[in-house]
Amino acid sequence: MGGRETRLPDESKAVDFDRTFIPHMDAAYNLARWLVRDDHDAQDVVQDAYLRAFRFAAGFRGGDPRAWILAIVRNTAFTWLKRNRGPDSPTEFDEKLHGGVGEESGLEADAVRKADGAMIRAALDELTDEFREVILMRDIEGLSYKEIADVAEVPIGTVMSRLARARGKLARLLQHQIAQERIPKER
């Protein structure tokens, strides 16, 4: 009989897990997919993250479930990247190293508008993981600065400055790409 009493809260937690975190699986996959850049690997990361989240679900104290699951997905993805693509990816991200904001060339909105989807995708792939993820979370996934700060474990001010650098870098990559295309190819 004692077993019955302890069983109910555990089962109710399972119900909660389903309804709280399953709805955010698209967001989880999207983040993982952009970070590890491979469908199969991203699926592994998301599955691993969900199983971890399930084990830690008792530690979820309310708040935004999407930010909570994304933080776990992000950690899982970075662990995965370190293990599988180790030497290539810098372990510590240097805010100063990766491009200043007040960069040389001026920007024009036209270049950005002319870029097609494939171009934007390629440019996103060229960004460092930290730049790509902040753009992904803000512009594609629609998270607030506060939520991004929670997921990436950085101050809100860092979210804004990193986003500024990331968008600037992305726009400049596109502008550069567009300019290249204007030059007729040599034969």
Binding site: G3, R7, E11, D16, R19, V46, A58, P65, I120, A164
Partner: protein
């Protein structure tokens, strides 16, 4: 404000993350500095381009299914934080087949104790569970059709009522199909609509008594639920769509009813 500050703060401004004073200061700098104005325009364009749904990868259905299966079956943690997850008493045959049905049942048991005995709250839990189940179990539709004249007759003979079936494609909510579902201890009609990448389930069954149209919006763990009464039908609308859009959709349904 100097250009370096403006180049950072303009992003907070574009994202609506600044307080009014900072917002105005950024605006003033942009109005006065052509270089920053050009940067600002480019960043605004950049943001707009990235909003495109095409850049969003959607989780493959197989992955969702795999995770749904893996979670109830996963071993409990060593510390015994989850002693015996359902394996002990749920027959093996239905263990994977209807995990969400169990969820719905448990919602019935647990809801009155934790969130009060409200009938609507219980039904909201049920429709959300049904909605999730429909997405997880690859059983979104029994009849897949964008034609209301195909979907409506399909329900004939399967239900003891005829649900109103309308297509709202011109308003951005195309009908994609229908299926039978089970809510509140009875068979109900489930109509499936789409809005962008979002799936909307509309559950309908005849009301018991009063036919006044009482709209109510609730949020259940990331899903939004609208409840309304249309043409004598109890009508529950559920989706992961944002509340405003779902509300708009609910108004379309009501207008037709």
């Amino acid at each position: 404000m100097n250009c370096d500050d403006a180049r950072v703060l303009m992003h907070g401004q574009l994202d609506g993350e600044l307080d009014l004073a900072a917002d105005l200061e950024v605006q003033r700098h942009i109005d006065e500095c052509p270089r920053c104005a050009s940067e600002y325009a480019a960043m605004r364009a950049m943001r707009a381009r990235l909003k495109d749904e095409a850049f969003r990868f959607e989780a493959p259905a197989a992955l969702k299914e795999r995770i749904r299966r893996a979670i109830p079956a996963s071993p409990p943690s060593q510390a015994g934080a989850y002693p015996s997850r359902r394996g002990r008493w749920v027959p093996r045959a239905i263990r994977f087949a209807v995990p969400m049905a169990i969820g719905a049942m448990l919602a019935l048991i647990v809801a009155p104790r934790t969130i009060g005995p409200g009938l609507n709250q219980r039904l909201a839990s049920e429709v959300v569970a049904s909605h999730v189940r429909s997405l997880m179990a690859s059983h979104l539709m029994d009849v897949a059709s964008t034609d209301q004249h195909t979907v409506k007759p399909w329900f004939n003979g399967k239900l003891d009522f005829s649900p109103p079936v309308n297509d709202f494609a011109k308003d951005g909510f195309p009908l994609v199909g229908g299926r039978l579902d089970y809510i509140d201890g009875r068979q109900v009609a489930a109509l499936v609509y789409q809005h962008g990448k979002h799936v909307i389930n509309v559950f309908m069954w005849p009301t018991a008594g009063d036919t006044t149209s009482a709209e109510k919006i609730e949020t259940e763990h990331g899903y939004n639920v609208d409840q309304l009464t249309v043409a004598g039908m109890n009508c529950w609308v559920v989706s992961d769509l944002n509340q405003q859009e779902l509300d708009r959709f609910a108004r379309l349904i009501r207008a037709k009813g």
